[in-house]
């Protein structure tokens, strides 16, 4: 037991170390002016996706429930964050504070949504739970796309389905139905993304290694056994689900405030699936794997631009091949023969259900 704890501690420090080293390398590159606009422009989305992947891993890997609607929480966080940041433009001149508040509000709203959605969702199991998260994701996309929200001297105005805003002089529309939010003041920065990742890691790793975390994993592995030793299934499932939603909301705010325009259609089923791919590829329950997979798969389509029109076809083939190589014994051995000899190292083995 002592050995295991030590090992998980070392493992966690490795994860923090990876992020910090990556951050320092990027900072050095930027300081040296050796970085392409392409890579620099991707830094913030990469950090946002890393947080998304870690947070989804909490639901899928640690809690063991398939969620197909994670982008919905990102959407809630993104739009509540944008609204917060825009409303506070005059009140708070410091951009970092406004960004922090936006992420906080984004996280808060997504957390509330996570709780409300969790009430029905967590009563279900397996693929039925998955389909309900998908349904909520689609509902959020559909509804957010019909909201008009603006403000003027007299306060905030909201209308749904039809644009009936009657804004006075100096009023500004923040959410414009299907056009989404436009003319956003960009606040996000690589530093903010880095800090958000650290906070996320801190929350998630501590949760996993805490008493609650062990309870969550016990629920994942055997609900009945867990219940029989007095673990409240509902409470721990909800804890993981809401934490996951909150972090996704903060990431959504970070993501949205990195662009001048964002629309509800962005956070669709495909986005949820994309994040799920990060998690599965990185390894269920494996936080470091999620970080690496999110980075690689976000950068990959840009690297593939050299392939022109067959770019996305190549992307699809790579995705299929990686899944096959990773999960098929014969193929894996084949790769092993031609590949580098594997090292024995202290690696984490948090993977639960896929041995």
């Amino acid at each position: 037991m002592k050995y295991l704890r030590l090992r998980s501690k070392i493992d966690n420090w490795l994860t923090y170390g990876l992020i910090i080293v990556a951050y320092i390398v990027m900072r050095l590159l930027i300081a040296g002016g050796n970085i392409s606009s392409t890579l620099q422009g991707q830094l913030v989305p990469i950090t946002a996706y890393i947080v998304m992947a870690i947070s989804l891993n909490l639901t899928v890997g640690v809690l063991g429930e398939l969620s197909l609607g994670h982008a919905g929480f990102m959407s809630v966080g993104a739009f509540s964050g944008v609204i917060t940041a825009t409303l506070l433009t005059d009140a708070i001149p410091m951009t970092w504070l406004r960004l922090a508040l936006a992420m906080l509000v984004g996280g808060l709203f997504a957390g509330i949504f996570g709780f409300l959605i969790g009430i029905p969702v967590l009563r279900l199991q397996g693929d039925y739970l998955a389909i309900v998260t998908l349904a909520f994701g689609e509902i959020i996309k559909n509804v957010v796309g019909t909201i008009y929200l603006g403000y003027d001297a007299n306060g905030i105005q909201v209308s749904i389905e039809n644009n009936t805003l009657q804004l006075g002089e100096g009023g500004k529309v923040i959410l414009n139905g299907p056009k989404g939010a436009t003319g956003i003041t960009k606040l996000s920065s690589f530093n903010a993304g880095f800090i958000l990742i650290l906070i996320t890691l801190f929350i998630v790793l501590n949760l996993i290694n805490s008493k609650s975390g062990r309870a969550i994993k016990a629920v994942r592995d055997d609900k009945i056994a867990a219940e029989s030793v007095g673990i409240s299934i509902w409470r721990y499932r909800m804890m993981a689900f809401v934490t996951s939603a909150t972090l996704a909301g903060a990431a959504g705010a970070l993501y949205a405030l990195n662009y001048s325009a964002v629309d509800a259609g962005k956070f669709d089923f495909n986005k949820s699936i994309l994040i799920l791919v990060f998690v599965v590829l990185g390894g269920m329950g494996n936080i470091r794997g999620s970080i690496i997979a999110a980075t690689v798969l976000t950068v990959l389509p840009e690297v593939l631009r050299a392939f022109d029109e067959v770019r996305m076809l190549v992307y699809a083939i790579i995705l299929i091949l990686v899944m096959l190589v990773r999960n098929n014994k014969t193929l894996r051995q084949l790769f092993q023969k031609i590949g580098i000899r594997r090292r024995n190292s202290l690696s984490n083995n948090k993977e639960g259900d896929e041995t």
Binding site: L39, Q42, G145, K179, S260, E309, M312, N349
Partner: protein
């Protein structure tokens, strides 16, 4: 088994990651280096001016991006064949997505783009416009039509009508020609373009005293079945259905109206163009459909005929309005620059100020496929007159 495999797998992943990053980090250097080399080789005026293009080349909206790319490429080839000023077009995919669109923009910046032709679709354009505004890169969007695209950005110009103008023009046209007394509207409320036109149209129709009896919507995800929308229009007694939407759903609406035996007049906007060019389309369905559009492929003026022929030769398809917009955008930039002494070495920001000056000057008038005597306002919107078109016997015919 798994446990043992994991280190190796991560090693591979990390190696892949490092390679990816190295390639990306290297890209910028290589890009500029290559450009430097080229400039060194041909220091005379033959070095091409770098045009960037952004639009969806994959995914659901690919049809529009590819059309713009094809049209713009034809223009570049023609211009380069004339000798004199040379262009090079680098067109990048954005999958109709804001994030990918900004990525594409950064890729082009690394490449050394001097002028941007893009982006093709509205929402990505709202994300890219502020970037090019900050970087001072002249931007002419072929087809992003929302007023927010140009709002507050002196360097962003539109080649297409703005949604506002289209909505107003359509209402005016319907009123002047007395095309219908009871109007039904079916629009796509998950689409910025469609919603933009609808909003202006409905307020203008109210101002003009047109009676709108039914307004229904659909979304990208429910663009299959229109029986409900059509039934509602029919029950409300609408004799004119206004369709501010693209041609694929419009074609569905026409087919389903026919199945229902509902025969109102249909009135479309420029997104409807291309309906007759849909492969295997039963043109009978579109008989009598009216639309306001700046471009139709079977116009008989020399410019259009030559363009359509060339496009068919190259791509085996009839060009739609997006292709024409792409073609016009490149030519408008060419017309603006041809008498100047700009070269591949002129910084993008100098080009930007120069082009803004030319585009907003009173003497700059552009004649292209999508209209004659086009001029641009300070805000970046184009002024051109839409043509009223009616489909008769399977061909487009001018109404006037």
């Amino acid at each position: 088994m798994r446990k043992h495999m994991k280190p190796r797998f991560y090693l591979t992943l990390i190696v892949a990651l490092v390679l990816c990053l190295a390639m990306l980090a290297g890209c910028g250097d290589k890009g500029t280096k290559k450009a430097d080399d080229k400039q060194a080789e041909t220091s005379d005026d033959a070095a091409p001016i770098k045009l960037g293009g952004i639009g969806p080349l994959t995914g659901g909206a690919a049809v529009y991006g590819i059309a713009v790319q094809n049209g713009a490429n034809i223009a570049v080839e023609e211009i380069n064949a004339l000798g004199g000023m040379q262009f090079k077009l680098n067109f990048q995919d954005d999958e109709h997505d804001t994030e990918k669109s900004v990525n594409a923009y950064n890729v082009l910046k690394d490449w050394g783009m001097q002028i941007l032709v893009g982006t093709v679709t509205t929402v990505p354009c709202n994300a890219v416009g502020p970037e090019s505004y900050n970087d001072r890169i002249f931007t002419l969007t072929p087809s992003a039509s929302s007023p927010e695209v140009v709002e507050g950005k002196d360097n962003v110009f539109q080649m297409c009508f703005s949604d506002t103008n289209q909505g107003i023009a359509a209402a005016q046209y319907i009123q002047e020609k007395d095309l219908g007394s009871k109007i039904a509207i079916i629009y796509n409320n998950s689409d910025a373009y469609s919603t933009g036109i609808y909003e202006k149209f409905s307020s203008e129709a109210e101002a003009k005293g047109l009676e709108v009896v039914s307004t229904t919507t659909f979304t990208e995800d429910t663009a299959n079945d229109f029986s409900v929308q059509l039934t509602e229009a029919q029950n409300a007694g609408a004799d004119l259905v206004f369709l501010p939407i693209y041609c694929p759903p419009a074609a569905l609406i026409l087919a389903q109206a026919k199945d229902m035996g509902y025969k109102p007049a249909f009135f479309g906007v420029d997104g409807m163009d291309g309906i007759l060019e849909l492969e295997n389309f039963d043109t009978e369905l579109a008989e009598g459909v009216m639309l306001l559009t700046p471009f139709v492929a079977d116009a008989t003026d020399d410019l259009t005929v030559a363009f359509v022929e060339k496009y068919k030769d190259l791509h085996g398809e009839v060009p739609n309005q997006f292709a024409a917009d792409g073609y016009d955008s490149v030519y408008a930039i060419y017309e603006a620059l041809k008498d100047s002494d700009v070269t591949a070495e002129t910084p993008a920001s100098d080009l930007c100020e120069l082009l803004i000056g030319i585009f907003t000057s009173d003497d700059f008038v552009f004649n292209g496929l999508t209209g004659d005597n086009m001029t641009w306002s300070k805000s970046g919107e184009v002024a051109k007159s839409p043509k009223g078109i009616v489909i008769e016997n399977g061909v487009y015919v001018g109404i006037d």
